[in-house]
Amino acid sequence: MTEKERDILLDLLTKQATEGLSVAESKQLAALEGSDDDSFDLAAAAVMLAEFEPVEELPSHLRAKIAADAPAFVDQNAEQFLPKDESTIPAPDRKTPMFAWLGWAVAAAAVVALTLNITMTRFGVTEVARRVDPTPTQTPMSPAEAFDEMMAEPGMTVAKWTPAAKEGDMAHVTGAVVWSDKQQKGYVKVQGLPKNDPSASTYQLWIFEENQGDKTPIDGGTFNISSDGQVVIPIDAKLTAKNPSMFAVTVEKPGGVVISKREKVAALAKVETSVPPNA
């Protein structure tokens, strides 16, 4: 490594550990030898631990969602150490990394490749490692990216938001909702909802579908609007939703309600079979 490269590496590792890197800087760092050096980030984390006391508990609804999502990832960890044929090797599923996971992802790919090599060589199969694509795959998508990806997939339930009222501060709501029965997940993209004071009210999503009927739609989670721009929110369905016919957003008391009185409906999104996938 040249002196200049060493200085660049030092600057980028410092910046990564303090204010973070841009996408271009992440790529620049990933190209340098020593880019997987965690010592600056670990040092910054230690300073953080020295400087503040964690006082907030993980909210129960958030904990439940994280726990529900975890097996999909944790189970994969176990599978990485089992013999696999080519068809079970996970395909790259991500686009440009938002920060420097490159070293981690390459290391993970190398572990898979090594495991496959050892296992398959034992059974007389050769040249397995070359089948593993070392492209970085590990950065989770943002809700906006996940929304776009689902919208591009075939077979999704898609609906466009329309205002519930023609006049007033909610008369210009636009956006769309995408939902997958199979994956039991979806996202709301919405623009034009007024900012709310979370201490006074919250927005709540409802899913009208065939299991529960129209009288008792499924709670799709609460959310708040803190800016004028477009927001993308993961749907947090509390029950299994099947074949949704409509989505609705209501204004409720902080924390949301179990059954909405539907006194203030902000927006509706009826599922139309004619809605194109990329609406």
């Binding site: 980030d41 230690a46 300073v47 964690p54 508990e57 999502d69 944790v74 290391a107 979370p198």
Partner: protein, 188 residues
């Protein structure tokens, strides 16, 4: 000695998920709430942090750092990434609270996490202006420019303080890293 939570997760033990959330859920959530302006951003970040943890548990090296520090590192990385794309938060804490004497707040973590105690000691070794800059980055969630604007320290000096401060903390914690950046960089 019981197997670490992260090791169990790396081995695909789903039962370790609850243990991880019990042990570190509050820490991750607190970091997100500390640095992000609104709750929705913080909740998104927390979910993404735990996905990062599930995927990267196998990278945890107990000879380098404790689980707590490793998880705080993953959380900071994700939250900083989020800050770049969300509403940046300049901490609502007073500057004086962010840059107080390190280790004087009686934090429980300083008693229980070795690296936290060592980091507090390392901060005490820094020049006051270097320590101030590091605290504003890490506790205040500020950018280079915001620190320069807030403190009046020239931008280039802010960056130098950050670099030398982190090198010193890294050195005190015995985090050699993979590249030798030389002793002179850490010199005060």
């Amino acid at each position: 000695m019981p197997e670490s939570i992260l090791k169990r997760i790396a081995n695909g033990d789903s039962a370790a998920v609850a243990d991880c959330l019990n042990a570190y859920g509050g820490l991750v959530y607190s970091i997100a709430r500390k640095l992000l302006a609104n709750e929705a951003d913080a909740e998104d970040a927390v979910q993404e942090v735990f996905i990062d943890i599930w995927k990267n548990a196998g990278r945890f090296d107990p000879t380098l750092a404790s689980e707590t520090t490793f998880i705080a590192m993953i959380a900071r990385r994700r939250v900083i990434d989020k800050i770049r794309f969300a509403s940046r938060r300049i901490s609502t804490d007073a500057i004086e609270d962010m840059v107080s004497e390190p280790g004087d707040k009686g934090h429980k973590l300083i008693e229980t996490v070795a690296e936290a105690k060592e980091a507090a000691e390392a901060l005490k070794m820094l020049r006051p202006d270097q320590r101030q800059v590091l605290q504003l980055y890490i506790v205040g969630g500020m950018s280079h420019q915001e620190i320069a604007d807030t403190t009046g320290i020239p931008l280039g000096t802010v960056k130098t303080h950050a670099r030398r401060g982190l090198l010193r903390v890294r050195e005190v914690l015995g985090l050699g890293g993979t590249t030798d950046f030389g002793q002179k960089e850490a010199a005060l």
